[in-house]
Amino acid sequence: MNLPRIKIRDRLLTRLLVSHIFLVTVPLFLTGHILTNTAQEAVERTVLERNLEFARRSTALIESSVEKARDILRLSAQQPVFYSDDRIGKELTINSMVNEFSLFKMIAILDTTGSVLASTAYEDPDRSITTNGSMLELAKGQKHISDVYVSKDLLPLMNLAEPIRLHNEVIGVLWAVVDLTAMWALVDNNVVGEHGEAFIFRADGQYIAHSDRRKVYMRSHFEEQDIIRAVAADSSAHKVYVNREGVEMIAAYAPMKELNWGAVIQQPTSEAFASARKMRLQILILMIGSSAVAALIAFFYTRQIVKPVQLLVSGIDRVAAGELRQRIQILGKDEIGQLAERFNTMAAKLQEIQNKLKRTERLETLGKLSSVISHEIRNPLNSMVINMQLLRREFAKPRRDLKKMEHYHQVVASEIKRVDGLVSNFLLIAKPPKLEKTDCTLTKLLDEMITVQMPNVLPKGIRVERDYVDPALTAHVDEKKLYQVFLNIFLNAVEAMQGGGRIVLGVRRHIPTISSEGEDTEALMAAVSFRDTGKGIPAEDLNRIFDFYYSKKEHGTGIGLSLAQQIVEEHSGFIRVKSRLGAGSEFTIFLPLRKPQS
């Protein structure tokens, strides 16, 4: 029985597989998504806080070093040597300060008008100091801190000044040029990552220290106005922006309030968050890998469930096709196993019923046969009686006509022969001889038959063709009886093509329509087909062609096909017929193949 092929999406295997995968992967991906997001946020926060901390620490260090310079200057300004006229003492003090504290590039002592009294500068001291009107403030006793400026030789410098007081009266100024190149080393040491940058910029954005020193030398400006404004507003935070080169940067910034500068530590986001992204990728790969493994496990597990069902379906199919000896292998003790067990029980009962039916059918047939035979025998017997009487009468005549006697005798002999034939056929049907099975190559048997029959077939304009898909197919059969089957069907085909035609003999392995996974090698069959281009069989006769003594042919006995079916069934096989009126018929003999030896 051929059921329509099930679509992949409707198959039990597909449904179970999809539900398994869905049940496993959806929670997995949801968990993974939450996990990666949380982890990425944590890593990003750590990176940002670290950079921000660096920026804050840098500003604190720079501010403290400037503060230190101011403290030194303030304390030094209180030394008595600055009140005296001791020029050498003053020079010694300021030179010692410069010598001891590398922060000071130059220190000078000015009078209240701004004239240089002593200086550590080697060149003309007046040239090295530009008070720019700050003397007025200093004369009033106020401190002075200049903006950072870049010297001729591109050093970042700033001026600090402390008033020198005597009895609360400002008598001079201690003027220092502070060398801020120390902060260059600081920014160099604060570079984060391979492509990170650290820098300090003035209120106008000009770099005064940068890990890429060229930007300082070229007097370049930081262009991210939002950060410059935020620093001016004394805010420290971090910001993601795209720089001139189109690189997305994450910048942590902190202000130096007193100095009006900003410190920035920045890194390309691709580098800063590389570890987070790597982790995300790893989790993603892990999730995909887990899902794949889960899918694989689900596939095998589902297959374990579906396989017995497929076997069951296959078995049902075969039973439905009439193979009542078919049994399903019991694969488990679950519900499907129980179902298979019940099915086997049912198949056994069906077979028992079929056997009973067959016996009944055979008895019925024998009854029918007996009546047919009694009818068939009565006719020749009548003929024989008449001819025997005629023979006796002729014999009793004085002038015997020998020709007549010969004719009567021949009629009697012929009728006896006919009766003998009837009885022989009856015996074949009623008590079939035991099969003598051997391994037989089916094509060889067919070829043998064709060779014998060719002289009879060719004059009738019939062409015989071979379509051997599996030419070496061997079955365990009674060779002589199977030859008889082939011959009967072949002759039937020949008789159906009185005006000539074509008969195609085919041999192939029969592949069951049910999934091969559930297939048993014992169920494999050989299919030997006889396809003719004869007149065909009417649909209403198709069910009766295998009945005994059913024949629509003029001289047909109605035994050939019945006998063929009987022999095939004795081989546990069956015959299928397809026919189209006017187009031809196809008889296919299915024979079980011998189980291959492992």
Binding site: G89, N99, Y122, D153, L154
Partner: protein, 424 residues
């Protein structure tokens, strides 16, 4: 649209601006802009091409007198400044800030070897380092390890190679014997005892690859004279020596004086060398503490050479390399007749020098050279500070190869340097 054009291009621009048709104006602007762009590219290309075949050398003007810079060639060593047809190169431009020469050697392949050398003079080490970091020059030499580290950190095209200088160089303060104060041996010895060399080495020279000196030759020299005095920092001894010479602070201004003359002199030194500036400051402090009013005066190497040549100096901080020959010593410490700038007068020294010069064999000269060292150590015509055995060579590794002879631990002559990317 605004184009920065001059001369004929400006006339063309005005011509296009006058056009009535908008399309004609636009076409004109596009043409002019394109032409200007192409011209700029061509100029830049020419500039690059010029720089590509040129070795650009950075030199500190405080360290080298631009007039005395030499170039070693297979035909001999020549001064690059000035003019002369016999030299294997021609000087295209010569000024205190830049000298450009073109090599004449015909056998040189311009596509492999540079054909020009440009010498750029920088006023101080900072500006030189800046130029290096801005990748404006191909070769320079810096003494400080901090500068070397800064360069290697901020530019990737340079190879920073620590090597001994071509010749061991010593640093010393030369005294002019024409100066009344410095003519006294007691004063010179007091000045030697007054320099805190330990402090200089600890604070300034600790990372510079330098050794302390006692005489004109360092301890690695074959002719080094054992037994020379150390002149360790001893202010008391220095004051005693000065006092024995009559120097006292009679007017209580913290400066020693004698016969109303303060103990004051000028100390000239090369400008722009941070090590020397720091050292001068330390020496000034040390001498001020003794009551010596020294007045440091920085200047370029050429100005310094002029002063030495003219004898117009009191004391000079100078870098020099003495050959192990009596003539080399004579060039500095010879009397006025020998051409020595110090006008050093010591009959004993002169006799020993003369006897040494008479000996032709260098081995035979060694004892006399050692005696000369002992005299120079005792007499202190110069305060010997340190000898430098390490320096950092900075070479544009992206542009040149075959510049280093590692086996000999020195750079090859510039004429042997090869371009890394040969031109057409």
């Amino acid at each position: 649209m605004r184009l920065n054009v001059k001369g004929r291009s400006r006339k063309l621009l005005r011509f296009f601006e006058r056009q009535k048709s908008r399309r004609a104006r636009i076409a004109g602007f596009v043409l002019l802009g394109g032409a200007q762009f192409l011209a700029t590219c061509a100029a830049a290309q020419t500039q690059r091409q010029l720089a590509r075949n040129t070795i650009i050398i950075g030199i500190l003007s405080g360290e080298s007198d631009y007039r005395l810079v030499e170039l070693a060639t297979p035909d001999g060593t020549f001064q690059i400044a000035g003019f002369g047809n016999s030299r294997p190169f021609e000087t295209i431009e010569s000024s205190p800030s830049r000298i450009l020469i073109r090599l004449k050697t015909e056998e040189r392949d311009d596509s492999i070897y540079p054909n020009k050398i440009e010498y750029r003079f920088f006023p101080n080490e900072r500006s030189l380092v800046t130029a290096i970091i801005l990748e404006e020059i191909d070769y320079a030499r810096v003494d400080g390890s901090a500068s070397a580290q800064e360069i290697s950190r901020h530019s990737r095209i340079y190879r920073v190679q620590p090597l001994p200088p071509p010749r061991y160089t010593i640093s010393l303060i030369l005294y002019n014997f024409s100066n009344n104060i410095l003519r006294s041996r007691n004063v010179r010895q007091a000045l030697a005892y007054g320099i805190n060399q330990d402090e200089i080495f600890k604070r300034i020279l600790s990372e510079s690859g330098a050794d302390m000196l006692r005489g004109p030759f360092d301890e690695d020299s074959k002719i080094y004279a054992p037994g020379m005095k150390d002149y360790d920092y001893d202010p008391k001894k220095a004051i005693a020596l000065l006092a024995s010479d009559g120097w006292r602070d009679t007017d209580r201004d913290n400066i020693l004086d004698r016969d109303g003359q303060p103990l004051r002199f000028r100390l000239f030194f090369s400008d722009g060398l941070s090590v020397e500036e720091q050292m001068i400051r330390q020496i000034k402090i040390d001498w001020l503490r003794l009551g010596i009013d020294v007045q440091p005066m920085p200047m370029t190497a050429s100005a310094l050479n002029d002063r030495l040549k003219n004898g117009d100096f009191d004391a000079v901080l100078q870098k020099h390399r003495f050959e192990e020959t009596p003539e080399s010593l004579e060039a500095f410490f010879g009397d006025g007749l020998g051409g020595g700038p110090l006008k050093y007068l010591n009959p004993n020294y002169n006799r020993t020098l003369a006897s040494s010069k008479r000996l032709k064999d260098s081995k035979a000269q060694t004892p006399s050279l050692q005696r000369l060292q002992l005299i120079l150590n005792e007499d202190q015509p110069a305060a010997y500070l340190y000898s430098q055995w390490n320096t950092y060579y900075i070479v544009n590794h992206a542009k040149f190869d075959n510049y280093l002879n590692l086996a000999a631990r020195q750079l090859r002559p510039f004429l042997e340097w090869r371009l890394k990317r040969p031109g057409p």
